[in-house]
């Protein structure tokens, strides 16, 4: 097994401490070492004060979102050697308040996401024994959102406007509008039909690129706009 020393330039910050800075750690990596594992090695062997979030180690829980070499990624599935750099820069996600080192406050994320209405279906509904309505497979993708915040971190408009609802919440809102299952979608459409709602998006589509689950939040925002445009036209012509 090939092993190499890789430098990790890690964002460091502690509340009440000095201004944010980068600290470099050297870690022995092999071809199976992921960025998350390397960070855990740093925490275990070099600096126990390094703070990060993680849980499942297989891209299911969405807790280890971070910026790796300037891109939003889940640290648990990015292999260090695949990055092809001798120095790996690791930073917390953007556009959410940083709490400590690589951990951001997810409060504003869930504040928006929960307001949009939580997704209603789970993959378990597609088990053999489940009674699935015809055509329901078409609605699968949005259920795959793992609430990792990577789309929010990648969005250039989130970097401008602190009250923008953001791609994750808007995608969740579209999910409810698309397949309401008895819920009244009108209040949600009114919620997103605002300056800081779906019209605030400037079509950079970076959320689509960052999403590790194929939710494609950018497409969902455009679907919301199409629905609202239709609604406005109908209202204009008194229908």
């Amino acid at each position: 097994m090939v092993e190499r020393d890789i430098d990790f330039k890690v964002f460091r910050y502690k509340q009440g401490g000095a201004a944010p800075a980068y600290q470099t750690f050297r870690v022995r990596c092999d071809e199976n070492t992921t960025v998350l594992v390397a960070l855990q090695d740093i925490r275990r062997d070099q600096d126990g004060t390094l703070i990060m979030r993680h849980s499942c180690h297989h891209a299911s829980c969405g807790t280890c979102g971070m910026r790796i070499n300037g891109r939003e990624e889940l640290g648990c599935v990015v292999k260090v050697f695949d990055l092809n750099t001798s120095t790996v820069v690791v930073e917390p996600m953007r556009n959410m308040p940083v709490i400590s080192d690589l951990v951001v406050d997810m409060g504003p994320f869930y504040d928006r996401f929960n307001s949009a209405g939580m997704p209603l279906m789970r993959e378990s509904e597609f088990l053999d024994e489940a009674d699935v309505a015809e055509g329901l497979e078409a609605y699968m993708r949005c259920e795959n959102c793992i609430e990792c915040n990577l789309c929010v971190s990648a969005c250039p408009i989130m970097g401008t406007d602190p009250t923008y609802l953001g791609p994750a919440a808007l995608a969740a809102a579209w999910r409810v509008v698309e397949e309401p299952r008895g819920l009244d979608a009108k209040p949600l459409l009114d919620w997103v039909d605002s300056q800081n709602g779906c019209w605030r998006c400037h079509v950079a589509y970076e959320c689509n690129e960052a999403c590790p689950s194929g939710v494609f939040p950018g497409d969902k925002i455009m679907s919301l706009r199409r629905e609202l445009t239709k609604r406005k036209f109908r209202r204009l012509f008194g229908r």
């Binding site: 959410m96 409060g107 504003p108 950079a204």
Partner: protein, 134 residues
């Protein structure tokens, strides 16, 4: 909307310019977005320059003629070419953003970008040649 928790971060204040124009490691879509912003700013500045140049007309024919002579200088023509690029790019990408923004063709927004910006580049090359030879 007012009760939404803001994403303000006192440790890392919002930096719109970096957020818009730092395209390192980003996709084609962000490049398109950044270029759209850049050309928008450039065209807005040009609009005011244009109005101030037009105001030379009220100072009489001499001042206008001297400006026209300056406008024929190759360096000035090069600025015209830059302006033309801003106009055709902003127009083409603007059509794409307007269409996609209304939910039309958003599943193929990258193809739409390549087609429309491809047309814009052809117009740009033809226009640039005409600026120097016409």
């Amino acid at each position: 909307m007012d009760d939404i928790q803001p994403t303000t971060d006192p440790v890392r204040p919002k930096a719109p310019l970096r957020s818009w124009f730092d395209v390192r490691g980003r996709s084609m879509s962000t490049l398109a977005f950044a270029l759209n912003r850049l050309t928008a700013v450039g065209l807005t500045i040009y609009l005011f320059l244009h109005l101030s140049v037009l105001s030379l007309l009220v100072r009489g024919p001499e001042s206008w003629d001297s400006f026209v002579a300056l406008a024929k200088h190759p360096l000035f023509l090069l600025l015209d070419v830059v302006l033309l690029f801003g106009v055709v790019y902003h127009m083409a990408n603007g059509i794409r953003v307007a269409l996609v923004g209304m939910g039309v063709g958003h599943a193929r927004h990258k193809t739409l970008f390549y087609v429309l910006v491809g047309i814009a580049l052809v117009l740009f090359v033809v226009g640039a040649v005409l600026i120097f030879t016409g």
